[in-house]
């Protein structure tokens, strides 16, 4: 049973985006619509699970001097293969994701799981942990994508939900939702909401702001 904790732990309690604040760059860039968020999530889950499986399988034979290079080589190869597959089977989505599939290589989430978990654990738990982290990442991506596409374009998965004024409806799309800052706002609000519900996630302050009671204004 304890093995399953690796799977559901990272989904909310230890979510890679909202608790560890990893993988923010792609979370900002690809969440302008639900379709791109979903494809990005699938690509990341696949790469994360495969890389954890491979790295965990050969973990005892990776010399520690070159372990990061070996991990990155494996991750980068898997990312290129995933990118090629998306370009072959989902061409129009690959054009909208542009470089962000390729940038999964630099997503700290993938290397982080490889280095922190897969290097120390057997393949079974490593795959569960990767799947859990991938699902946690996907959950946040889909929530942000849902809000941004609904409010920014009035559609979901490209289907009209609120008819926009450009097509004779009543809904004025919020263009801000389609720009990167809105993803920051939504992520910030999400993190606030989760930490309000789960106070255990609140981190202690690194330092206190001290105000000297005798201090005089200059």
């Amino acid at each position: 049973m304890s093995a399953l904790r690796h799977l559901y732990g990272p989904i909310i309690d230890n979510n890679p985006i909202t608790l560890q604040i990893l993988g923010i760059c792609s979370a900002l860039a690809v969440t302008t619509s639900l379709t791109t968020s979903a494809v990005m999530s699938l690509a990341l889950i696949t790469v994360l699970v495969m890389s954890s499986l491979v790295i965990s399988t050969i973990r005892r034979h990776i010399p520690s001097a070159i372990r990061l290079i070996v991990q990155i080589t494996i991750i980068a190869s898997l990312v290129i293969v995933a990118d090629q597959i998306i370009q072959a089977f989902a061409f129009d989505i690959s054009q909208r994701l542009s470089i962000f599939v390729g940038l999964i290589v630099t997503n700290c989430l993938v290397l982080g799981r490889a280095e922190a978990f897969a290097m120390q654990n057997p393949p079974g738990p490593a795959v569960l942990d990767a799947l859990g982290n991938g699902l946690g990442y996907s959950l946040i991506l889909l929530i942000v994508g849902f809000i941004r596409e609904l409010l920014g374009a009035g559609t979901l998965f490209g289907l009209t939900v609120f008819p926009s004024v450009y097509d004779g409806g009543w809904f004025t799309p919020l263009n801000l939702m389609l720009l990167a800052p809105s993803a920051f706002f939504i992520l910030g609000l999400l993190i606030w909401a989760i930490r309000a519900l789960r106070p255990a996630q609140i981190e202690p302050s690194d330092y206190k702001i001290a105000i000297d009671p005798n201090r005089r204004a200059p």
């Binding site: 302008t32 619509s33 005892r60 034979h61 990776i62 010399p63 520690s64 001097a65 070159i66 290079i69 070996v70 080589t73 494996i74 980068a76 190869s77 290129i80 293969v81 090629q84 597959i85 370009q87 072959a88 089977f89 061409f91 129009d92 054009q95 909208r96 542009s98 920014g152 374009a153 450009y166 799309p173 263009n175 939702m177 389609l178 720009l179």
Partner: protein, 269 residues
């Protein structure tokens, strides 16, 4: 007697301490070798499908533009299908070439120093850097008379290179249509140049004023005359890029000399 059994070599290797130099080297080479094999086989196996996707995309855009143009269907119906000629034009020597347009890749040609020209910085309003010396052009004739010509144009936009097809009517001054082939501008703002509603603003616009200067511009706000196209709110720089693409490609370093020659009737194949 030396041990030649590969399995026992392999077991011996695995038994080596991880920090030994031999094992480090072998692991590094094995990992990179296997990864290279996986990546290159994926690329080779999937290449035909990706190429088919790209070709289908280009064809679909061209078809969509043809379908959107007023009067196109009658022209195509009265003429044979093969009167839509695709030719690769040599922009340097201003002549038609024998290059097969179905296999010609203008973007690859623009990268290759052999088949491209560096645009002088002061003339490079579209921010392209290099221009391919050859361009695939579609010409529609009914009988001997020129009806329509479709020119590929491009410019660097706000955050991507915008590629488009510009169709001109027989007077080579009236726009018959504009179709954006590829862009990666801000979704919801600049990317709205892909919307049919915006592209529908183009037919009927005039390129050059009576002095022959290319005047057609994407303006801020509403267009007030036939040399202006409505801009998109929040996408000024994308609109400017489309303007620059038109100005550059119809100018001296683009199709300008070719169109002059075509107009003079000196370019019969």
């Amino acid at each position: 007697m030396p041990d030649l059994n590969p399995i026992s070599w392999w077991l011996k290797l695995l038994a080596l301490p991880n920090e030994s130099r031999t094992k480090t080297l072998v692991v590094a080479f094995l990992v990179s070798g296997i990864c290279a094999l996986v990546v290159s086989s994926a690329a080779v196996i999937l290449e035909p499908m990706q190429e088919a996707n790209r070709a289908a995309e280009r064809q679909a855009r061209l078809d969509a533009m043809m379908a959107a143009m007023p009067g196109m269907e009658e022209i195509l119906a009265e003429a044979d299908a093969d009167t839509l000629n695709s030719v690769v034009v040599d922009l340097k020597n201003i002549e038609m070439t024998e290059i097969d347009p179905s296999t010609f890749d203008m973007r690859a040609a623009a990268q290759d120093p052999e088949t491209s020209t560096i645009i002088p910085p002061e003339a490079d309003i579209a921010g392209l850097g290099r221009r391919a010396d050859y361009a695939p052009v579609h010409i529609l004739r009914s009988g001997d008379e020129l009806r329509l010509i479709i020119l590929p144009i491009s410019a660097s936009g706000y955050q991507s290179t915008i590629h488009a097809n510009l169709a001109l009517e027989a007077d080579l001054n009236t726009v018959a249509g504009l179709s954006i082939v590829e862009q990666g501008e801000t979704p919801g703002l600049g990317a709205r140049i892909e919307e049919p509603a915006w592209q529908a603003l183009w037919p009927g616009k005039k390129l050059a004023d009576k002095n022959g200067d290319i005047t057609l511009t994407v303006v801020r706000g509403r267009a007030t005359n036939e040399f202006e196209v409505d801009g998109i709110t929040g996408a000024t720089r994308t609109g400017n890029a489309v303007t620059e693409a038109v100005h550059f490609w119809l100018g001296e370093y683009g199709y300008g000399p070719f169109l002059d020659k075509l107009r003079a009737g000196a370019l019969e194949q």
